[in-house]
Subunit: 314 residues, 2 copies
């Protein structure tokens, strides 16, 4: 029952030998979701021991090269590895012609369907839903059309307390009601109604976990509201506090802006990355963020952030 973020690249536009460009994998219940796809992502995936064939789908924030140039090699290698399952790529409308051109030239080597789902949302909307996960997209505030994503583990079905089954001799029908979150209602022999509340009979085994991805973006009004209360927030910090002018000019965020968003949104943890090549030491980024939001962690290429299952007391 994993819910684990692996950060594959932490550079902004210009990569280095230590920092590749933006790419992350969120693994939820054994399924991997790739978020952005900077150059070299397929090698970083190998380093992180995440099988390319386990990638369920891909989420692209925007089409700047440092977020998409790894896609071509990734798709080609998936093709060589004989993937047959269709691959859905969620991304801006502008990603469409890029994929189309790529497939027109290199499609012979791609024995699986590549499905582009163009994003067109003005506020958070669910774009993906499975048994265990839903993903919402929302617009960010960058130079070009850019989207953030929130991954929410779905709340599991209610478990019925075994000793309550015995105590009340619950029938299968009644157990079914509890699992659906409904109170049990019994008509007693004297015609009166007995209500056994679901809160007494059942319990949620664990709480759904959540992760929000915000890159690339300058701060904007709705941001903290849209990512409110997530367990883990990744927020770009291209620049240090002293580089606020550059950040504004290029529609990026500083450390303090990202930390303020985390604080306002009341998130659990803040992970930062997308460091400008001007600033080599990520410890400085982390220290600046921690003046506002102490639970900040500066990601490195290969950093893993595991959100453990939070079981409710029974």
């Amino acid at each position: 029952m994993d819910f684990t973020l692996t950060v594959l690249g932490t550079a902004s536009a210009k990569p280095s030998t230590a920092r590749y460009q933006s790419a992350q994998v969120l693994t939820v219940h054994g399924r991997s979701f790739l978020i952005d796809c900077g150059e070299g992502v397929q090698v970083r995936l190998q380093e992180a021991r995440i099988s390319l064939l386990k990638i369920e789908s891909v989420f692209i924030s925007h089409i700047h090269g440092d977020h998409v140039f790894g896609l071509f090699g990734l798709l080609s290698t998936m093709g060589m590895m004989s993937r047959t399952k269709p691959l859905v790529i969620y991304g801006p409308v502008s990603l469409g012609p890029i994929l189309k051109f790529f497939l027109s030239y290199y499609g012979d080597g791609i024995p699986f369907e590549v499905v582009h789902k163009p994003l067109n949302v003005k506020s958070p909307e669910v774009i993906y839903s499975s048994k265990s996960l839903s993903v919402s997209a929302f617009p960010l505030n960058h130079k070009i059309e850019t989207f953030g994503f929130i991954f929410r583990e779905k709340e599991p079905q209610i478990n019925v307390k075994k000793w309550k089954i015995e105590e009340y001799a619950l029938t299968l029908t009644e157990i079914g009601s509890v699992k659906r979150g409904e109170d049990v209602r019994r008509t007693l022999p004297d015609g009166s109604l007995l209500v056994l509340p679901v809160s007494e009979l059942g319990y949620k085994p664990y709480r759904g976990r959540s992760y929000a991805y915000c890159s690339d973006t300058a701060p904007f009004g709705d941001e903290s509201e849209w990512v409110k209360g997530v367990d883990l927030l990744y927020h770009e910090t291209t620049y240090l506090a002293s580089q606020a002018d550059l950040a504004a000019l290029r529609y990026h965020s500083t450390t303090l802006q990202a930390a303020s968003c985390a604080l306002e949104a009341g998130v659990g943890k803040l992970v930062i990355g997308h460091y400008s090549s001007r600033n080599r030491d990520s410890a400085v980024y982390e220290a600046e963020c921690r003046t506002i939001f102490p639970e900040t962690y500066a990601a490195q290429d290969g950093s893993v952030f595991d959100l453990p299952l939070v079981r409710f007391p029974v």
Copy 2:
């Protein structure tokens, strides 16, 4: 007066953490020429401490992804580094639409002219010429249109022996003749002709060095003739001798085929690479080649092959 090959990637189609895809740099007299451009080339260039801004021009053998997917990131980063000098990319006609599409989407970030010189040769033809170097292209035998390249250092101007200047009291005009490779002819007072042969008065300070690049290709009839006598031959060896069927099917070469070409061509050294991901140990490739051509070296990512200046005896 360097003439140095740096191999940046030695994988065939599927890269690994240790082996990136095809890319090499030949540095001649301080100028760097990039040959093929697999994904991650810009990071490998950094690792090899070769400045992206020193790249004079690019030579692309063919448009398979493992030879070109690093081009987009490379051009983008050159743009961010404010290159202004035009960049000439020699490559097949089919590279044109790829570059055109890339520039239509990402051209705003490229503040220099990208000039595609389409190749269209049936046998070795000079496609680049400078004071110190000429480059010829010739067709290889691959699934799609593919070219090999020969880089030849130009023979330097003839030096005039100082003691001969004194011995014969050579005039400036006569010295000019020797430098151009002409004999000196003097009419003596008695009307007779004195011929002082250039071979006595001058000498070539060093011999021009040469490098040939053959990837990707199956063997073909003219190959060893076309690369005859080069000092250094890079020849792909995607497959081991036992995988000759696969090699033929996919228009690649085995170790023995590459080594036979080197032997027939009488080259100085053979460098091999483009190893299939099926075979992890390059020492096996090297050993197989050496049964035919002992001067074989299995390249690794980052291998450097330096051809020292060969001075003629004066």
